[in-house]
């Protein structure tokens, strides 16, 4: 099985979010970048397939050279090789089209990604990729097994879980549950040393027009201070008369 894991390079969850250039660009100043947490779940699941079922694992990112440390971290976790598509990720469709080229050229039969990235939160790349490739697709995956070319998966639904069966080739967008948080891998020293020698191939993008663009960013209006109350009568009264939620 040839697995491709899509890795998004995102600001750490705790980052302060600021914008520059008249609120048109994300301010990367002082921001720590990490593997997108949802992608990390899927990457860990891919490692499991590699170790237990002999799969090969390639990681890919669409981004400029600044994303390479994130790809190296994925290599340190255990991926065999990495590909960077040398382009700014302008929108979801652009990224999906770049990834589709990588999948076609690399002959991958299983593509793993995260449910969404924690920066743009579009949640669109895996579904678009599956449609562009005409691969089967499962979103919000919380459990997954593959035997031969058959796959059984479960996905989150409102108020529960649904079990699904499908076959390769397949795109899966994972989240917590595809592996548990306690099972996420942290690169060890040996992994970090080995990652330096693993191939990180840079490929040029295919020409694609972006379908969407960000005109500007804005932050939510500053929130007023919390209203502290001493007793539950006051709380109920405020929720009823002021907030009008009960």
């Amino acid at each position: 099985m040839k697995i491709l894991v899509c890795i998004s390079h995102v600001p750490d969850t705790t980052s302060k979010i600021n914008f520059t250039d008249n609120d048109t660009k994300f301010d990367t100043n002082g921001v720590q970048f990490v593997i997108n947490p949802y992608d990390e779940f899927s990457l860990t699941r891919a490692m499991w397939f590699k170790e237990k079922q002999g799969a090969t694992v390639t990681v890919v990112n669409v981004g400029n050279a600044t994303t390479e440390p994130t790809l190296r971290k994925a290599l340190a976790i255990g991926a065999d090789d990495a590909i960077r598509v040398n382009a700014e990720a302008t929108d979801g469709l652009f990224v999906a089209k770049q990834l589709a080229e990588i999948v076609k050229n690399g002959g991958f039969d299983l593509v793993l990604a995260g449910r969404e990235s924690i920066d743009y939160n579009g949640g669109m790349v895996p579904g678009m990729l599956a449609s562009l490739l005409d691969f089967n697709f499962v979103n919000g995956c919380v459990g997954m097994e593959v035997e031969g070319t058959n796959a059984s998966l479960s996905r989150e639904i409102d108020g529960g879980e649904e079990s699904l069966s499908t076959s390769l080739p397949l795109v899966v967008a994972g989240q917590k549950g595809i592996v548990e948080e306690k099972d996420l891998r942290i690169p060890n020293m040996r992994g970090i040393m080995m990652a330096r020698k693993k191939p990180l191939n840079v490929v040029e993008p295919v020409g694609v027009d972006a379908a969407t663009s960000t005109q500007s960013f804005e932050k939510p209006a500053p929130k007023g201070a919390v209203k502290l109350v001493d007793n539950v009568d006051d709380l109920i009264n405020l929720l009823h008369t002021e907030a009008k939620v009960i």
């Binding site: 949802y38 449609s131 979103n139 879980e161 969407t212």
Partner: protein, 318 residues
């Protein structure tokens, strides 16, 4: 030209979000000077949609789709959009909506914006405001393709009654090979789900142990709320993983979120920021959650929650 709204349903009943997307679609159609067409796949009584402004409802009845199938739904939405000459397609940003919408976008060669929170600020260029950075910011996004797919964030627009005398047409779409088949569905029955709930009551490690959740469930019952928990609580196995809300858990966009004994780690806040009104009950006056909350009580959950249950019962009866 028309605006196509997909009104999602489950087990033959429209979801609450269906009325919200119809209300939103009606307004978008007014902005564009076009008509709104609503698609229902194995949905409920179309007259429920007329009440929110759906003048024309396209009904697809398909026995083989007793459970949701993203590929089939995407294909039906695309075929309906083609048949109705729709240049804007609106789908909710629920779990299923986020599954199907990107596939619709590719099928229609449309630009797609998910988690949209307001009506288009401009139709030329077509600009929508969407959530970004885990609710820490918004992106004003321009969709530049001829056709557009909008994913509407839950509870961002609201359902607005706007009764019209609508009409219903049936439509037979051609089904693609499904590719993915559902083998079983497990749903907690009789409980309000986090996705549907207007009110969510959530508790954290401050509750000290799973044996103390009775009062949280009681509070949720009085309010008709869903129960939820913080990450450490689900990691400790006190509550099921499905109740974990936060960055890596479920997102919550309820009207009221009550956090009890949760300190408010940034990952937790990222998952609940979209909730409109936040109430925090915590013994620690310095808990970071108080900075994010609208109302707060500094106090012991074991004293405050039982009082709240009793007083709310009385309030509900009055």
């Amino acid at each position: 030209m028309s605006v196509l709204v997909f009104a999602d349903s489950s087990e033959g009943k429209f979801k609450k979000s269906a009325f919200e997307v119809v209300s939103y679609g009606k307004k978008v159609a007014e902005q564009l000077g076009s008509k709104v067409v609503t698609l229902s796949i194995n949905g409920g009584d179309a007259s429920e949609l007329y009440a929110y402004g759906a003048e024309k409802v396209i009904e697809v009845k398909e026995d083989s789709l007793s459970t949701f199938n993203a590929k089939a739904y995407a294909s039906i939405i695309q075929q309906t959009a083609d048949a109705q000459n729709s240049n804007v397609v609106i789908i909710d940003s629920s779990i299923d909506g986020l599954f199907v919408a990107p596939m619709v976008a590719v099928a229609l060669e449309a630009g797609y914006a998910s988690n949209v929170v307001a009506l288009p600020s401009s139709t030329e260029p077509f600009t929508v405001k969407r959530k970004a950075f885990s609710n820490k910011a918004f992106s004003n996004t321009v969709i530049s393709t001829d056709k557009k797919v909008i994913g509407l964030a839950k509870n961002s627009f609201g359902a607005h009654e706007n009764s019209v005398s609508g009409s219903t047409e049936s439509f037979s779409a051609t089904l693609p090979e499904l590719g993915v088949s559902s083998t079983s569905v497990e749903r907690a029955s009789g409980k309000v789900t986090i996705a549907d709930a207007d009110i969510v009551v959530s508790a954290g490690r401050g509750l000290k142990g799973p044996e103390n959740w009775g009062m949280i469930e009681e509070l949720a019952e009085v309010l008709g709320a869903a129960t939820a928990c913080s990450k450490p609580v689900s990691d400790l196995g006190w509550r099921p993983h499905g109740e974990h809300v936060g960055q890596t858990g479920k997102p919550v966009a309820s009207n009221l979120y009550i956090a009890i004994g949760i300190s408010g780690a940034i990952q937790h806040l990222a998952g609940i920021n979209a909730s409109k009104v936040k109430v925090v009950i915590n013994t620690d006056a310095d808990a970071p959650f108080f900075k994010a909350a609208d109302y707060g009580i500094v106090g012991d959950a074991f004293e405050v929650v039982p009082q709240l249950v009793e007083k709310l019962k009385a309030f509900k009866q009055s």
